[in-house]
Symmetry: C2
C-alpha cells in the first residue's frame, strides 16, 4: 500500500473511526486501511460497532493493512503538513511528511474479525433532518448501561414518517420526520452511537437506513456506521399513552428565553436541583429556593391559555428539553398533578416534529 | 447598600474573588461587598489568600454586606442584562434586573475575620513583564502539596532585578526582570496563586509588590491579592549551582517548531513518556519508540555548536519548557551525562530573562 492524501481528510476519518472502537481491549484497537481505485478506506469494528469511511487519495500502490488505531489517529491529528503519505515499508506502515517518519507496526490483518457487511437498506432520510431529530431524542436516553432499554432509541418506520423515541423514565422525547421507506423498520438501537453516526455525513447528504434482526446501520456516500441492536422490549404502549396529554394550561414562550431563566435559577435550585414554573397572566415565573444560596424569581413573557398552575421540575431535565427547541417558540402543555409536561413546537422546514415530555417533581407542601 | 453597576464588571470581580476562596469549607465561602464613593469593592479572604477588587458603580446608598460567594458569582455570570442593581432588602441582598430578582441571604459581617491589610510595599513592576516571567516559573513548580517547598516561587529582589525561581526537582525555571525596588524582598510564595494574581491587573498597569515576614501581596489600581508565605527553606545554593552549565553542545532552534515535533512524538513516547533528542549536522532529530505504537523520527532545522550528543527527556517536561519560549528562538545548552539541559533566550522588549532547566532521563543501553 502506498497513498498520498490530504492530512485533514485522513485525520478526521481516523479520529472518527478510533472513537467508535473499544479503548480498553486487551490488545490495541486496530484500524484497517485499504487503498484501491476509490481512494483510501479507514475501517474498524469492535464487539458492537463498525465503521467505514472512504477518503479521496492518490494511490501509488493498492493494498490493505491493519495498524493500531490510537497512534495513527494521534499522529495524523498532530501533523501541520497539508499532505501526508502512507506507505508500507517492511513490517511497518510509514506515515511520512517532508521532515518526519512515523512507523506503525503492521498488525495481523488475517486475524482481524473483519468489518461486517451492511444489513439490507430499508429507507432514506436527509442528513440534516435526521440529526435534528436524533440529537434531542438520543439526549433523553439514559447513559446508565445497567438498564439497556433506557439507553436505546426506538426507531420505527411508518409508510411516510420515521419515528424516533427514547426515555430514561424521567423524561421522554419523540420525534418524527419524513422518510422514503423501502422496507419494514422496527428496532431499538443504542442512542449515543446512532446520534454520533448521524453527524458524520455532509449536512446536505442523503442517509440510507439499513436494518435486519441483529444490526442497524446508517450509510452515505463515502461512509457507514453499523451497530448491534439492543435486545430489550421497549415499553411502546406506555410511552405512547404518555403522549396523550390532558391539558390543564398551555404556555407559549421563546425556548431560549425560558432556558436562560432556568439556567439563572440553578444556583438557587436547592439540594434536589429543582426549579418551579408558575403560570401567571401573560408571563411565567421561574423560581428557585435554597436554604444557603437564597431565593430567585424571574419573569418571562408568555402567551397563556388555561389555568394558573405551578409545577416543579429537575432544572437540568427542563433545560435539556428547552435546548431541543432552541431558536424557536415552544408550547408547554401542562397537565394536572404529577402527569408529564409536554413540550412541542410546529414542524420546521426539515419536517421534523418533536415532542418532549418532562415528569414534574412531587412538591413539598 | 444600593448600587447599580455594569454586569460584566461585577461578574468578573465576583468570579475572580470566589475562585480564590476555599470551596470545601463547612460554611459557604462569603464575599464582602462594600459600596462607597469609590464604587463597589468585592473582597474575600480564606485561611491563606485574600483579595480585594474595586469596580466602578453608581452608588445610591453606601454600605457593606457579606453574602455567599458561589451563588453571587453564578448569578452575575448568568445575567444577559448589561446593568445590574445590588440592593439590601430586609435580610437579603437583592440582585435585580428588569425581569428578575435573586435574593442572597445576608451573612454575619461582624463574624467575618476581615480582609487583612496589605504588607508594606517593597517595589513595583509592569504587569505585562511580571506575568511573562511568573507564568513559566510558576509552571515549573510542583502541584503536590505534600512537599510545600516545591509548590513555591522564590521571589528575590536585587537592587535592579526581580528574580523568580521554582523547581519540582525534575525541572527548574529562573526568570529575572527589571524592577523598581524600595525595600528588601526575599520570600517563598505559593506559585499558583501568585501567577493567577499577576493576571488580574490590566496588561499596561504597574503592579506593586508588598511583603513582610508572613505575607506577600500584589496590588494595582483597583485591586490586590495577598497570600501567606510558605514556611520552607528553598534550596537556593543548589538551585543556583544548577545554572552554572558546562556546555557539551549548543542548539539554536525555533521553540514552536521543536515543540511541534515533541508533541508529535508523544504517541510513541512509550511507557515512560520519553522522547530522544539527537543533535546532528544542522538539525536535531526528535525520536520516539514504543513497543505497541511503533517508532517516530522528525528532523528540525537548527544551528548546532559543539558535539553530536543524544539526550532523552520526559516529553511533557520538555514541552512545558519549550512553551515558555513560544514565538522565539531558544538556545538549548546540553551538558554531559545526566546534568540538566539549559534552555535560554535573549531578553525580550519587556526585559524578562528566562532560563529553564530540564533534567534528562537515564537512557536504556
Amino acid at each position: 500500500m502506498d497513498v498520498t492524501a490530504t492530512t485533514a481528510d485522513l485525520a478526521s476519518a481516523a479520529a472518527d473511526a478510533a472513537r467508535l472502537l473499544p479503548t480498553r481491549a486487551p490488545v490495541p484497537a486496530g484500524l484497517v486501511l485499504r487503498a484501491d481505485r476509490h481512494g483510501v478506506e479507514v475501517a474498524g469494528s469492535g464487539r458492537e460497532h463498525a465503521i467505514r469511511l472512504t477518503r479521496p487519495a492518490t494511490v501509488h500502490a493498492d493494498g490493505a493493512v491493519l495498524v493500531p488505531a490510537a497512534p495513527l489517529a494521534g499522529t495524523l491529528r498532530g501533523l501541520d503538513d497539508p499532505r501526508v503519505r502512507l506507505v508500507v515499508e517492511g513490517s511497518r506502515l510509514a506515515v511520512r511528511t517532508a521532515t518526519a517518519r512515523f512507523a506503525l507496526p503492521l498488525l495481523d490483518l488475517a486475524a482481524h474479525p473483519g468489518v461486517p457487511p451492511l444489513p439490507p437498506r430499508v429507507g432514506s432520510v436527509p442528513a440534516r433532518a435526521l440529526t435534528a431529530a436524533l440529537t434531542p431524542v438520543a439526549g433523553a436516553a439514559s447513559k446508565d448501561d445497567a438498564l439497556p432499554v433506557f439507553t436505546g432509541v426506538r426507531v420505527h418506520g411508518t409508510t411516510s414518517r420515521l419515528e424516533l423515541m427514547a426515555t430514561d423514565r424521567y423524561r421522554m422525547a419523540f420525534a418524527s420526520l419524513p422518510w422514503a421507506r423501502t422496507a419494514e423498520l422496527d428496532v431499538l438501537a443504542p442512542a449515543a452511537v446512532l446520534a454520533e453516526a448521524s453527524k458524520h455525513p455532509d449536512r446536505d447528504a442523503e442517509v440510507s437506513v439499513h436494518a435486519d434482526a441483529d444490526r442497524v446501520a446508517l450509510s452515505w456516500s463515502g461512509g457507514s456506521v453499523s451497530t448491534a441492536l439492543l435486545a430489550a422490549p421497549f415499553p411502546d404502549d406506555r410511552a405512547r399513552k404518555l403522549l396523550e396529554a390532558v391539558i390543564d394550561s398551555t404556555v407559549l414562550v421563546e425556548a431560549d428565553v425560558l432556558a436562560g431563566a432556568v439556567r439563572r435559577a440553578v444556583p438557587y435550585a436547592g439540594p434536589h436541583g429543582s426549579v418551579t414554573i408558575q403560570v401567571d397572566d401573560g408571563e411565567v415565573r421561574v423560581r428557585g429556593s435554597d436554604p444557603r444560596a437564597g431565593e430567585s424569581e424571574e419573569s418571562v413573557k408568555a402567551t397563556i391559555d388555561g389555568n394558573r398552575v405551578t409545577k416543579t421540575f429537575q432544572a437540568r431535565y427542563l433545560a435539556d428539553a428547552l435546548r431541543a427547541f432552541s431558536g424557536r417558540r415552544v408550547e408547554l402543555r401542562i397537565q394536572d398533578g404529577l402527569r408529564s409536561t409536554v413540550l412541542t413546537s410546529p414542524a420546521g422546514e426539515d419536517g421534523v416534529e418533536l415532542t418532549y415530555l418532562v415528569v414534574p417533581l412531587r412538591t413539598q407542601v
